[in-house]
């Protein structure tokens, strides 16, 4: 690996983790609004809508914090990728059904958006980008400046050291 390569991972952690943190924190103040936003997608059955509305921001914050700290990077990266995939599918589904809603990605209430259709491609493009960065972290979870490096001994560390 070239010397700059691990730092790409650090950047990916900060970008993806930072976005999750912001998205989660902005959703915290109004749980009822989150429930309505989840419902507006008209995908999940009503029985699970409140649970997702209440739980999603917390999961976002936990995953975001793990990524920023570099804690359990592979697991957090995998969860992050799965969530991004779910959002891409959700937005694409809303788009395909011709519903006009605000994605609610960073909180905010579902307002009558006349330009909703124009926003969907950008929402999806952003989420696909974050999905790819998440997958990078699943593939190469070891990065400098991470809690993992402090807590978990690297399995291959001694061998690479003797090689140099």
């Amino acid at each position: 690996m070239r010397t700059w390569a691990p730092w790409v991972g650090v950047l990916a952690r900060l970008v993806v983790g930072g976005v999750w943190l912001v998205a989660g924190v902005l959703k915290l103040p109004d749980p009822a609004e989150n429930v309505r936003t989840v419902r507006a997608y008209q995908i999940l059955p009503e029985s699970v809508v409140p649970a997702v509305g209440h739980g999603l921001p917390i999961l976002e914050i936990l995953v975001g914090a793990c990524l920023v700290l570099g804690l359990l990077t592979r697991l957090a990266g995998a969860l992050s990728a799965l969530m991004q995939l779910a959002f891409v599918i959700g937005i694409a589904s809303v788009w395909a059904r011709g519903l006009s809603i605000h994605c609610g990605c960073f909180g905010g209430s579902a307002s009558p958006t006349t330009d909703a259709q124009a926003a969907y491609p950008w929402d999806i493009a952003r989420d696909v980008g974050l999905l790819l960065l998440s997958l990078l972290l699943v593939w190469r979870p070891r990065t400098p400046l991470s809690a993992d490096a402090l807590l978990l001994p690297a399995e291959t560390e001694p061998r690479t050291r003797t090689r140099t």
């Binding site: 309505r36 419902r39 209440h54 605000h102 209430s109 978990l152 001994p153 001694p158």
Partner: protein, 262 residues
């Protein structure tokens, strides 16, 4: 015969043994590191799950729209629990209109349609059922949406639909800006009195938020009916497309002119 091996062979043998021992030791160390990693990871996961569970409980408890369903009182005179009627219930056209008192688009729609729609109501051709929501509560610093909607419930409950319609119109004519503190409770009482309500009857229920729970439940019901924004106008269950405030009025007027035959 084994005892007759040369020194060189013996040395090679012992080296191989040492190498094997080192390999075994390395393997054991590797396993030990792996075990430690798994234990540390498991502990971290357990801690994170606990934090998440606690936070989830807090979020659920903070959401007043879920749980304790059916509690709280409904103002008398509503149509279908959450509708505030304007106009005769025998009118051929019934429009269900979802509004938030601080939503600027609702204000634009109200001022665009005030004269036309009031005429339709007066002629008995149209009944509007207003559903007032609070989902823009964070657009004011004082939960104006909830307070104003509660006040409408109070006025309907105490003074009937005619006064309630007047009060509703007054609030939109004096609509506060998004992001402001909204009208004060005293101002809401003053407008209610101006519309024709008795101060003694509306003052304390407006200030105490007598029908706040009704507003929260009504907003939740609207969300469950797939209302995702305000204003939303539905006639016979069909949502009118929102192009502009003026166009929305024109669409309603078309249905009224057709006598309800869309």
């Amino acid at each position: 015969m084994a005892k007759k091996r040369s020194t060189a062979t013996r040395r090679a043998d012992s080296q191989a043994a040492a190498a094997r021992a080192a390999a075994i030791r390395r393997e054991q160390e590797r396993k030990e590191r792996r075990r430690r990693s798994l234990v540390v990871s498991a502990v971290v996961v357990v801690v994170l799950v606990l934090i998440g569970a606690i936070a989830y409980g807090v979020q659920s408890a903070r959401d007043s729209s879920t749980g304790s369903a059916g509690s709280g009182t409904t103002p008398s005179g509503t149509v279908g629990r959450y509708g505030v009627p304007a106009g005769s219930s025998s009118a051929p056209v019934k429009a269900v209109i979802y509004e938030d008192f601080i939503c600027p688009y609702c204000g634009a729609f109200e001022s665009a349609g005030r004269a036309t729609l009031q005429k339709d109501i007066d002629r008995g051709k149209l009944q509007i059922q207003y559903h007032v929501l609070n989902f823009l509560d964070r657009s004011s610093s004082t939960k104006y949406s909830t307070r104003a909607a509660n006040a409408l419930g109070v006025v309907l409950d105490s003074s009937g639909p005619k006064v309630a319609k007047k009060f509703h119109d007054l609030l939109f004519e004096n609509q506060p800006q998004e992001g402001s503190a909204g009208l004060t409770d005293s101002q809401l009482v003053d407008y209610a009195v101006q519309a024709g309500a008795k101060r003694s009857e509306v003052e304390s229920p407006i200030k105490d938020g007598k029908f706040n729970d009704w507003v929260v439940k009504g907003t939740d019901a609207a969300s469950k009916a797939h209302v995702t924004g305000t204003p939303t106008v539905r006639i016979n269950g069909k949502t009118l497309p929102v192009n502009s405030a003026q166009d929305l009025v024109v669409q309603i007027q078309k249905v009224v002119d057709a006598g309800g035959n869309q």
